[in-house]
Every structure is written in C-alpha cells, then in structure tokens.
Assembly symmetry: C2
Homo-oligomer: 379 residues x 2
C-alpha cells in the first residue's frame, strides 16, 4: 500500500461527480474537498484550532516560500511541518514550480532546472526536480507535488509541447529522487494548456509512471471559465479512476462545483483568505463587500444562512467597523467565514453526490449566488 491512496465511495448518477476519501499518513479526508492555503506554515489570520473547528481536513503549504523562510532545514529540525505549525491533519505541499515562474522576474530554465532570484532578497537560487523533492522531504508533507514547468498563459503550441515533455522528464526525476520514501505520497501534474492532444500526452506520460494521484495544473491562470471546464472534460478520461485528481489554484464557488461535476476531488486557493483580508465575503447570496457603507448599520450576520462562528456571533456593522479600522479581528472573522463557506459548500456537494442530485444542487446554488445573472462576476 502506498502512503497516500484513494477510496472511491460512489459516483453521482446525475452528474458523474465522485464521492471518496483520500487516506494519508496523517489521516483521511473526504472528497471532493477544498484545502485552505497556509503559504508560510500558517493559514493567514487563522489558528490551527479554528481550522479544525470549521473542519478543514487538509491544508496546503508552499515549498518555495518555506524554502526561502524559515528554510527547510529548520523545519526538519522542528520535527517537520506538522510539528512546527502544530497541525496534525494531512498537509499537501506544492513543488515550488508555480512560484518560481510567477514570482521571479529573472529566471533561466534549462533541462537541469530553473535558476532565478529570491523574490525577497534578490539572492541567486536554483530549483530542480531533485531539490524540490529534497525540500518536501524535509517538510514531511503527506502529499508532495512533482516539480513542473508552469508555462505562461496563453502559450504557443510548440512552446507548450516542449514544456509538457520537459515536465514529464522532470516527473521521472522526481520519482527517482522520491524512491524509497514510504511516508509521503508524490502526485504528478498534468500540463498542456488548452491543447487537447498535449493534455492527453501529459496525462498518459504521467499515468505510465504510476503516481498515487494527479493534479491538473496550468488552469485558473486567466483563461475563461468555459476553457477550464473544457480542459477538465478533455483531461479526465486519461486519468485513472482509482487515483485522486487535484485541480490546482481554484477556489471560486462556481469552479468548485463545476470541477466536482467533471470528476475533480481536491481544490486549493488563497481566494477566501485573500478577499477576506480585503473585507469581502462569500455568502449564499453572492459576494458582499462588508466594508461598504451600506452595511454600516446592518446588524444581521454576514450570511443569514450561515452557522459559522463569525455569523453566529457578530454583525455586518461590527465587522465593517473592524475592517474599516484595520483591526485584525475583523479580518479574522471575514477569513474564517470565507473558509467556512467553501468547506461547507463542499459538505453540501458531497451530500448532493451521495443523493445523485449534484446538477440540481448546482442549479439552485448558482441561481441563489447570482452566477446565472448576465452580469455575474467570475469568482
């Protein structure tokens, strides 16, 4: 048995969405699942206890950021990331690839790896498939990600094909570096942009290497929503049913539901905490910018249908006051609510799969949230 494996429970007869569980060395989590992001070994504004209270079953952390500070050696010395940050449930770490390509302006990619400058200090750094594995081994995450090349969007066919092939060669090097590790599961990342044949090629390459799980990368990078759905539909048939599928960097309510319908099991995104720190909340009626003047004397909870800690105890007026005054507790409450909102959405999605009515659930949710309106915002 591998360190990480998927248990399929059922498929929604109406939508084809999958209900399952992913088992890891630090316990299991239900799928489809949203994973809060704790970039620097902390989910911004939150405590681990609060994350448990809202039943976050797995969190994500970022290899690139932890490598730069405090450094993977320090975290190894602390007994690994779980011990360092006091989180005993599963952790997934990305490979650092995305940050190298998105944060570093000066970078030089060759077959060996990527040379670039630290986005904080300017120091010269080198990240390779082997190094990305070594860092994640030091962190001790339950699920590790292979080091991939993240091409720009949009990218020419030729560029993308070379990139997909390099990502496959890098995936093999990751697997070799990971050989013998029985306490962490390594997932491959399917790339290929909008190109159907390249997505297929990437998926088939990686599936032939037999990873315990597969991610779909290179989406949620600026493409329209219908493109994301199309790519998912074209990629999924090439992934095995008995492994989990993870759609990287996606956290808007509509995309979570649409992803689940297309067979995605795992999602992550900074969206709920990022917009929370800007005073914006996701609610059952769509988004609410709590800092707006209309909420100054509104003593109702953020979301009248929500039973989270923030909604049970605090009013829009109070939270607006805190947010306007830049008081941390205000951002704690908006972040808490938004994370709870997405975790609870996934509870409802799983329930709908169980009852073979995920398409009906989507219709109701989209209608109430406002996604069906002509002016609907894509978030």
């Amino acid at each position: 048995m591998t360190a990480v494996y998927y248990e399929h429970i059922k498929t929604c007869k109406q939508s084809g969405a999958r209900l399952g569980k992913v088992h890891t060395p630090h316990g299991s989590f239900d799928t489809p699942m949203f994973m809060p992001v704790g970039t620097l070994a902390t989910v911004k504004m939150m405590s681990p206890d609060e994350l448990k209270e809202m039943d976050a079953q797995i969190i994500l952390s970022n290899t690139y950021h932890l490598w730069l500070r405090p450094g993977e050696d320090l975290i190894r010395e602390a007994g690994g990331l779980h011990s360092f940050m006091n989180w005993d449930r599963p952790i997934l770490t990305d490979s650092g690839g995305f940050q190298v390509f998105s944060l570093s302006k000066l970078r030089d990619i060759d077959e060996e790896g990527v040379r670039f400058r630290n986005h904080i200090s300017g120091e010269k750094l080198f990240l390779s498939p082997e190094k990305a594995m070594q860092i994640q081994h030091a962190l001790g995450s339950d699920i590790m990600m292979a080091f991939d090349e993240c091409p720009p969007y949009p990218a020419e066919y030729k560029y993308m094909k070379d990139s997909v092939e390099r990502t496959s060669r890098w995936a093999e090097r990751c697997l070799r570096e990971h050989e013998g590790n029985t306490t962490q599961g390594l997932f491959g990342i399917v790339q290929g942009g909008e190109y159907k044949d390249l997505r297929r090629q990437s998926a088939e390459d990686l599936v032939s290497m037999d990873f315990p799980g597969y991610a779909i990368g290179g989406l949620s990078v600026g493409e329209p929503k219908h493109v994301m759905n199309k790519v998912l539909e074209e990629t999924m048939p090439h992934l095995p049913d008995n492994k989990p599928r993870y759609l990287m960097g996606v956290g808007s309510a509509d995309a979570l539901i649409d992803g689940a319908i297309r067979g995605v099991d795992m999602f992550d995104c900074v969206l709920p905490t990022r917009i929370g720190r800007n005073g914006t909340c996701m609610t059952s009626e769509g988004r609410k910018v709590i800092r707006n003047a209309e909420f100054a004397r509104d003593f109702r909870p953020i979301d009248e249908k929500c039973d989270c800690y923030a909604c049970k105890n605090y009013s829009r007026a109070y939270i607006r006051h805190l947010v306007k005054s830049k008081e941390a507790f205000g951002f704690r409450l908006t972040s808490y609510h938004n994370l709870y909102f997405l975790l609870n959405l996934m509870v409802n999605v799983r329930e709908a799969i169980k009852e073979d009515r995920l398409l009906d659930f989507k219709e109701e949710f989209f209608e109430q949230y406002g996604f069906n309106r002509p002016d609907a915002k894509n978030f």
Copy 2:
C-alpha cells in the same frame, strides 16, 4: 445599592495590599485586576473567546475612539458595546480626556470643555463633561470615567492647581449629567501631578462627591518609577477603603505589583498587546524579543514556566518565523501570551495577598524577572 460597588475580602498583613471584588451589572471581577484594552471595541488581535479563555474578567474600551468611529449612536443602536462586540463581562470606558490631550495637536481648553480636531479627519470637535457622559451612556459600559483635564508632564504648580480645580468642577458636571442612571457606575479621577497637596486636594474634592470608585490619573506619563510610587503613597490615604482604586495606564509587571502593594485594585494598559505586535514577550525571566535571531532555532515555548495557549502549543522558532514574516497568527500568539502573563501575574498577586506574603512574592518575581539588576529596563 449603586450599580458598581467594592467588596473588600482581606488586606495583606505583610504589604497592606487589598484583596477584593468589584461588582458590576455584567458580573464581578477579582481585584487587584489587570484590564486588557480594547480601544476600538476589540482587544487588538484577540477574540472575546480568547480573552475569556485567559480569564480576562473585565476589559477597557476608549470613548474618544468609539465616538469618532463607528460613533456612539451606532453602538447604541447595536444594543450597546457589550452586544456590539459580543462581550458579556464588565466593560470600563475612559472619558476621552486622555486622548483629547494626547492625540490632538490643536486644542483649545476653556471652562466649558475642549475644542480640538479629529486626529483622523481633521474635523472640528468639542468634548465636554456632559458630552463625555452622553457618549458613555450610549456605549453602556459598566464603569464610566469622569471627564478630566490631563495636564502635560511635567507641569508647573500654578498650572496644575488650576487644572485640578477645573477637573473637580468638571467632575460635578459629570455627576449631574449622570444623575438617574442606575445601570452604570461613574468613577472620579484624581489628578495633581507630583504635588502632594494637590493630589490631596483633588482626592478630597472628589471623595466629597461620593463616587463609587476613584482613579489615579496623570501617572505613567514619563515620570520615574519612584515618583509613581511616591504619588500613590501620598494619594491613597485620602481615598476611602470601601471604594475601588484604579491606576490608569499602567501595565508593566513591576508597576502592577508595586501598585497593588500601595492599595491599587485595578490597572489597564496597551503595553502587552503593543509590544506583542512588535514581537516582544513578557516572560518569567524578563522580556524576550522573539524576533531576534537567537530564537531562530529555539524550539522551547516563549516562557517555559507558562501554561498559556501559545506556550503549550508553539515554539519560539515558529513564532519568530511568523513575526518575521508579518503573519497575523504570530502577533495573535505574542499578544495572547503577554495578556495571559499579566492576568496570571495578578492571579499570583491575589494568591500572595491571601497568604500575607506579597512582599516576598515581589522579591522573588523581581529577582527572576531582572528588575533587581542594575541595567533593568522599566517595563
């Protein structure tokens, strides 16, 4: 029976410190007590639940700040400050006087009150004894403070005498405005700077008005520690034994103990949260600047003798990493620890009073904290 009253339990035979309870409409609190400061209807970084977890029995909030934002009308509409901020234990509000004198550069004091400019918007404002009462009535705090003049430190005798006399006249106007209110207790504030006879005059004036409690104002404004102690010793004999005494704006561990020894029952200060947000912690061995490099690989808790949430679950290395990365959770932990440290110090002070050994406790504490060292910092 007044809304707020003092119950004396015992006097420490060794030190003369008082053990007691103050009863308010929202419950009682043990004295001597440290009160965390929640300037804008939130104790910075903290949730009300965390404050209860550390057994904060009363918090303070600031009339001036709440008047400016969100405004006392909005808080009245919310059902008062307790309901607005979800805190059901006692709240003390200051009068706004201190902020008018410390934050506003342009101000014009006359017998009627103080004209000044809003420190945020620059708008012209006027605060008087009557207005300070009206705002605090809207806030609904359990303990209100009279509107006093806060003279600069140091101040000439003549200036101070005029100021003390005006503060007494203003105190009478506060009492008149407060007449008929049976749900909030109004405390008078003794001023007089370093002048023994003026402190006596101020105390006698106010005591003749029969407030349910008295504060000592105008200390912790830059004077040396021995001056604070001297003023306390000279003022206390003129205050009645059956009323609580509140030393305003004091939050360093040594001053809390020295104050209790001189008969003080209540203290407040932003110090623990302010230095916490700067990555500095109070510990049984003195202060520790957690952001310092020496703690980078130190996996011990902030204070090895502390059993607070932060110390039970997180290391210096982790908290340093968070603080260096400006992650809110780091400042939550340092703030939590510092507040707990002072609340727990007062638990120990009360225990020592009960056992008639507060002077012994002081000696041990000062020795361990480092206050007895020649280079001891006054905090």
